[in-house]
Symmetry: C2
């Protein structure tokens, strides 16, 4: 897994990374089919994007028969963390709390979700 300093995938790239993070690894077709569920997109578009991502080092691939199997080369938590961090800095004045409250306020979180967050906070506070 690579150790890049600033990971800044574009929106399309992020969608692809998400598929890869979920599935562990996948062919272009598998990724494409996942994406196609959500939006209209051509197969070669997905292919091209993944080739670009390979170039940037966001993914790696290995040959399997005539197809390539891709794997994310950037860590899910780290990448998400960086994106959230940028978000917190630019939109919420550096305060994670503000962001959390915004997210929970706007979003209809279920009671179970809220409880889980509370548990998480308790554990975190005890440390």
């Amino acid at each position: 897994m690579s150790t890049q300093q600033h990971i800044k995938p574009t929106e399309s790239e992020l969608e692809i990374l998400n598929v890869l993070w979920q599935q562990g690894s996948a062919t272009v077709r598998e990724v494409h089919e996942k994406l196609a569920l959500k939006k209209e997109v051509g197969y070669t578009t997905t292919l091209k994007l993944m080739q670009i991502m390979l170039n940037k080092g966001l993914v790696s691939r290995e040959v399997s028969g005539k197809t390539h199997v891709y794997t994310a080369e950037v860590d899910k938590e780290k990448t998400q963390g960086q994106i959230m961090q940028r978000m917190i800095e630019t939109m919420f004045n550096g305060s994670a709390m503000q962001m959390v409250m915004q997210a929970l306020g706007n979003h209809k979180a279920t009671k179970a979700e809220l409880d889980m967050i509370r548990d998480y906070l308790d554990k975190k506070s005890k440390k």
Copy 2:
């Protein structure tokens, strides 16, 4: 304040909106000087961006002498909420909780922050 369905400011536009949200309203120069603290950017670049935003309805302006005074036309909470929502959907599989935990885990939240979030959750749960 406008009632747009999908507010999707670009990154640069968001930076400008942030200044306007903080200051209530501001001239191009005022905005520009704020931005210039953080990054190299030409005055006319900021001007142009704000004109584009005017066109999109993201901001309004009124004449004051020879300058224009700009005001955000999109609501801060609503805009932030929409952006967070998109984020939650694409990166966190629709779960606000996952996002919150990511944010709190990565970010070093202070004890006071955690307590405030807990209070917030308590109030929210009681309803």
